[in-house]
Symmetry: C2
Subunit: 400 residues, 2 copies
Amino acid sequence: MALSSLTVSAQFGAPRQNPTVPSVTENVVEDFKPATSNQDSKQYPMVNSQRMVRAQISAPNATSVGLDIAGKIYSMTKDEKGVWTGTSEPQDEGFHYYQLNIDGASVPDPGSLYYYGASRWGSGIEIPSTDQDFWQVKNVPQGSMSEVFYWSTYTEKMRRCHVYLPNEYYTNPTKKFPVLYLQHGMGENEYGWAEQGHTAQILDNLIAEGKAVPCIIVMDNGLNTSRPGEAGGFGGFGGPRPQGQRPQGAPGQGGPRRGGFGGFSEGFKNVLFNDIIPMVEKNYRVIADPQHRAYAGLSMGGMQAREITLANPEKFAYVGSFSSGAWSVDQVKASEGFAKNVRLLFMSGGGKENMGCVEAARNIKEQLGMNAVGYESPGTAHEWHTWRRSLYQFAQLIFK
Amino acid sequence: MALSSLTVSAQFGAPRQNPTVPSVTENVVEDFKPATSNQDSKQYPMVNSQRMVRAQISAPNATSVGLDIAGKIYSMTKDEKGVWTGTSEPQDEGFHYYQLNIDGASVPDPGSLYYYGASRWGSGIEIPSTDQDFWQVKNVPQGSMSEVFYWSTYTEKMRRCHVYLPNEYYTNPTKKFPVLYLQHGMGENEYGWAEQGHTAQILDNLIAEGKAVPCIIVMDNGLNTSRPGEAGGFGGFGGPRPQGQRPQGAPGQGGPRRGGFGGFSEGFKNVLFNDIIPMVEKNYRVIADPQHRAYAGLSMGGMQAREITLANPEKFAYVGSFSSGAWSVDQVKASEGFAKNVRLLFMSGGGKENMGCVEAARNIKEQLGMNAVGYESPGTAHEWHTWRRSLYQFAQLIFK
């Protein structure tokens, strides 16, 4: 597993200090360009053709500044004007969270746009990838990505989700659409697929090429699902909660090998069935039957999808599990009706994750006779480019 | 004018260092609570009942840390664990941009959510206001706030805007709606009204109370309107541009007293008329006539609205100018048709801005016989709470 230690410490409790290493100075190709994930007008951070990251910040009175990315802190060096610059080793192509460390303070880089992941809003950087064209904003018919609030009878709070509507939702005002429920991972929230996931662009582009069926996509928060009075739950949107609390059913109390995340999928299952699906089917023009309903998630979100769809195989026709481990033949067989009802089980992972999804899908297909597809993202690990590619693949297979 | 110096330096060129002052330690009421503008689970920054801000950050190796808000840097002090804490003087109620300064580096506070203003994404803090109920998320019929991209024939780029659709847009699928075009200020962008402006909540709540006519609201970027090859323009969304470039027609080349921002409103006028309005009237169910079209803006956005509506009084029936100065009788009189065509001219400002909008509206009404309304936001300056209140007032007067 190639989780960055920033992610690991945020996800699994005990924060740990990444090791400090020198900036890279040898054999650096000086063709750095501003990252596309930067704020408008900001030159730094930059990326070069070797996929090295160069950060820079003015901190004239600091004694030590570091670039904290992918599990290492690269020492930056100061010039005569008090500007610190440092260069990392090559990174995987795609999107990564990072931060700066200034005299012991971990802070967002003022040059970056901010993304939610590793349990915080903070810096992220896009390392150009050979196939990045598929998620760019292009001059094709555009859908929309909405922020929507709704009342949850389960949590007794207003909740926030994101809803993608395809272009045809606007141009064809009587047509009804299938729906994909698409969930984030641990330490992330309902912004992940909308922002660094580029869901709207992936779908707009696929639909424009005739490769995906126009559908509605609903992205919700899989973690803040505690009921009033429940200990340790995550708060509502934006609401503060006491520091140091851990969610119920946190990893370690029952990891994927022991059957799932326990409390995590229970809370989200209740919100999904009691609140989210009814809200979507009431407020939008939806084909409200299981044959037109898909559910996919990444990492923890894929583990939730596994638990929930194996226990409720009559509710979804298409299931996606991205970087959530390979499902076994026995797991699927133990669910009465899954192999019969579900038209597609899609399992994927980053090539560097070595999850064995391709082989697992082959086994399930051969032994259970159901449609199962495995996909491996070349050269990537437990990170967003794996998941964008997974969505790109999955979206071409559903509702057909 | 009570622009914060953070805003001033970002808006008007030469960055200037705010003066450093000691943290407030006397007569501080110790009832601090986490700000509602914080990231989930983050305790700091906090606000007390005196509207003082308390910031805190761990920076064990730093020698100097400051809280930079409203034109002053408050020195923070370090405890034995390396955690720095500081407290500001009382702030105006409402929303303010701020940042931390660590050994000379100006950085976002890792505790805050991030907002675009002062020409950067960075920290913001909400100081509770007596009337904040009007922009809270409530369990009322919800509209949606969408991110939408479209092709601009003028800039020859894809552009991004935000579109608010009222709840009834979804529930009443054949109804057509009036449209308000609503613009941000200098150093801000198309996120301002959608995020810190809480436009969707203000409208959802007003519509639920029967106080506003359901309408579509379109929020675009009034600054990145340069054509290909034009010097100094702002880039497209997300795209980097060289540092240090100034936009054409920047303040100083023609301020509001000399007739407006020149190049600023020219570029936006072309995008508005050639691209934005046609896109909206093509893609949404819109009552596409001037009687159902409103245009308002804040600060620079209000100056653009003034120039554009005075020059094109046949295109809009309702005009709003928030914190953009008082319009004179002569200005309105010089526009042929404005007093006759426009059903409402609304001018507002913060009480601390002393813009004289109430008197100016009275003069225009008395001397020109048109409907003009002035509003003054009690106790606020050139800041977002003034503009939220202005929208709250304006939205109750339009399309009726």
